[in-house]
């Protein structure tokens, strides 16, 4: 065996590097506990603004969401939390590459035998911790405001998350590949475009039925539409996703298309970056 071969198995090293990256990023973020708290407060403030708006328009909006059996503020809150969870996969891969690049860390990993895998995994774990904390904060905030959390429907919600988040994983990988394939170093245009579209088309603020007829078909392209719908039905009525075919099937089709496409594009983007040096900042 070549004396320079890594003494331990490949995946173990990657995991160790990932955990080290996670530790570094969390230490940085949490060293000033006040920063961390302020960032969580910012999320709460943002949600509170929408919550107050929702309270204001509740009288008019409740009639359109009566099928869910929840009030308009609850309707909006489910979308906000769903968006944060979807964002975990949608933004994390791009952020992993972006933070590494702009933080001048990619050179360090690229020139090591481990490559970028550890850094990407570590970033994902960091996003997972952060997003979980953000969701937990919002749920606590909701509980304080007296919004019912429907914890008895937790298994149904978990099922929705397990299936419903997979299309976002594919989209997230596609979005991350744009960093090198489209030289999109100031934010992925794909994620941005999807984010803009989902705010109006996916039932985030209001049911899709309120959209003008000519643009309603567009909402059925987005995974968000099915995800938010499934999440609301699971939260409010405890409906299992696997029993709701008209939500399950489109999600499965999107998973079948987006996930492999995302993996292929992401891998290709990293190979291309190796050849062109796009991820190196050493000039």
């Amino acid at each position: 065996m070549d004396k320079y071969e890594l003494k331990r198995g490949g995946f173990r090293i990657v995991l160790l590097v990932a955990l080290e990256t996670l530790k570094t990023r969390l230490l940085k973020a949490m060293f000033f506990p006040i920063i961390f708290t302020l960032s969580l407060i910012d999320i709460v403030i943002g949600t509170l603004a929408y919550y107050l708006m929702a309270i204001f328009v509740e009288g008019g909006m409740n009639r359109y969401i009566s099928a869910y059996g929840i009030t308009y503020p609850e309707y909006l809150l489910v979308a906000i939390i769903g968006d944060i969870l979807a964002g975990l996969f949608l933004y994390s891969f791009y952020e992993a590459i972006g933070m590494g690049y702009w933080g001048c860390e990619t050179d360090l990993y690229i020139t090591s035998p481990v490559g970028l895998k550890g850094m990407i995994m570590g970033s994902l774990l960091t996003s997972l911790v952060w997003n979980t904390l953000a969701v937990f904060t919002l749920l606590s905030f909701a509980a304080i405001l007296g919004i019912p959390l429907h914890l008895e429907n937790l298994p149904q919600v978990l099922e929705v998350l397990a299936i419903g988040l997979l299309p976002f994983l594919g989209l997230g990988l596609i979005s991350a590949s744009t960093f090198t394939l489209m030289n999109a170093k100031q934010g992925s245009p794909i994620t941005w475009a999807i984010n803009i579209a989902q705010r109006i088309l996916s039932g985030y603020y209001f049911p899709v039925q309120l959209l003008p007829g000519f643009i309603r078909p567009l909402s059925y392209i987005l995974p968000h539409t099915y995800f938010y719908e499934a999440l609301r039905l699971a939260v409010s009525k405890g409906i299992w996703l696997h029993s709701y075919y008209h939500l399950l099937h489109p999600l499965l089709i999107q998973i079948a298309i987006l996930l492999p496409l995302g993996v292929v594009l992401f891998k290709y983007s990293l190979i291309k970056a190796e050849k062109t040096g796009d991820l190196s900042r050493w000039t």
Binding site: L27, K28, F31, F32, P33, I34, I35, L38
Partner: protein, 349 residues
């Protein structure tokens, strides 16, 4: 008009050292809370300048040399009104720099070194230089003309429409110099003019400073680590160490004052630690530099000594005693670098 364009009188400058709140140097959101609520604690001060005084004559080329952390950049920034001294007086072309900084800045141009030199990646080289010209009060037409002219001088006119991200590090340094040449001012402050430049272009820049700027009657104050550059360019040199000027004069004056000796140069194979320790203990030696090609192989000794012949004999005896092979030996006049090392106390090897 005074014959001195820059007067620095008894300038003191210290930086407060604050308690760090954690690893790294990023000052986050929390810092303002901690700083205001708990009052940022000063842990002490770093004294960068301790009573520095000197004058620079008009049309003079003046070098400031010193080791890292000596206070060179602090001094240049104080003169350039980018730092407020704690005590003392600085005058540029008759203007008090501390009391009238904007008026003083009209009389000088600061050329920094470093990664970007302050250039904007979104503007082309030409546009960046035009902006600097506008900042100095020129109109659009004049700014355009000057930008073209200085790009020619630094050999970057073929890249006028490119943006700074496309330049190599040497080209960025040239661009920083171009920025310096953009305005018609009587004083230039240049921080390390040839750092990062290849030898050919470094010589061109030095020649430009020595001839063109001299011809135009511009006073130049520059900092450098290269003693041969200071010796070649400067009319007078100030050596600064630990915030104080420890030597000031022409190159010849400094050599005469601080060396009073000659340099014994010996190249040999297999010069070992024991031999070196014995050599270092010879009495007449003022300063010794040891340059190893690789340890135990070819070694160059440069010995500044008051008694060159006796030192030469003693060193050769020691080397032969330790079975070194002598390649050549020579006695020569000390260079400014020898003077610098003797004064600053740096030793190599």
């Amino acid at each position: 008009m005074s014959k001195d364009i820059v007067i620095v009188n008894n300038v003191y400058k210290s930086y407060p050292k604050y308690k760090r709140f954690g690893p790294g140097t990023c000052l986050g959101q929390a810092h303002w809370i901690l700083a205001t609520i708990f009052r940022m604690r000063k842990e002490g001060v770093v004294e960068a300048l301790k009573g520095v005084s000197f004058r620079v004559k008009r049309k003079e080329i003046f070098a400031i040399v010193g080791p890292n952390g000596a206070g060179k950049t602090t001094l240049v920034k104080c003169i350039g009104a980018l730092l407020l001294p704690d005590k003392g007086y600085i005058e540029v072309d008759g203007v008090n720099v501390v009391e009238e900084p904007l008026k003083a800045k009209k009389r000088m141009n600061l050329v920094g070194s470093g990664y970007w030199g302050g250039f904007d990646w979104s503007l082309s080289l030409e546009e960046n230089l035009q902006l600097f010209a506008l900042l100095y009060g020129y109109d659009f037409k004049e700014a355009k003309r000057r930008a073209k002219e200085v790009l020619d001088i630094v050999g970057l006119s073929h890249k006028a429409k490119d943006n700074p991200t496309k330049l190599s590090s040497g080209e960025r340094q040239r661009l920083a110099l171009a920025k310096g040449f953009i305005a018609d001012v009587p004083l230039y402050l240049i921080d390390e003019p040839t750092v990062g430049l290849d030898p050919v272009f470094a010589k061109q820049i030095r020649d430009y400073i020595k001839t063109e700027m001299k011809k135009r009657g511009i006073t130049v104050i520059f900092t450098t680590h290269f003693m041969h550059e200071a010796e070649y360019l400067a009319d007078r040199i100030a050596i600064i160490k630990d915030g104080k000027i420890i030597a000031l004069g022409t190159a010849d004056e400094l050599k005469a004052k601080f060396t009073r000796g000659k340099v014994v140069e010996i190249k040999a194979y297999n010069v070992y630690e024991d031999a070196l320790n014995k050599i270092k203990s010879i009495e007449d030696i003022i300063h010794i530099d040891v340059f190893h090609r690789s340890y135990g192989a070819e070694t160059l000794l440069r010995i500044l000594t008051r008694n060159p012949l006796e030192t030469l004999n003693n060193v050769l005896d020691i080397l032969l005693m330790y079975s070194s092979t002598i390649l050549y030996a020579n006695i020569s006049e000390p260079t400014l670098e020898d003077v610098y090392r003797a004064i600053v106390g740096e030793e190599y090897g």
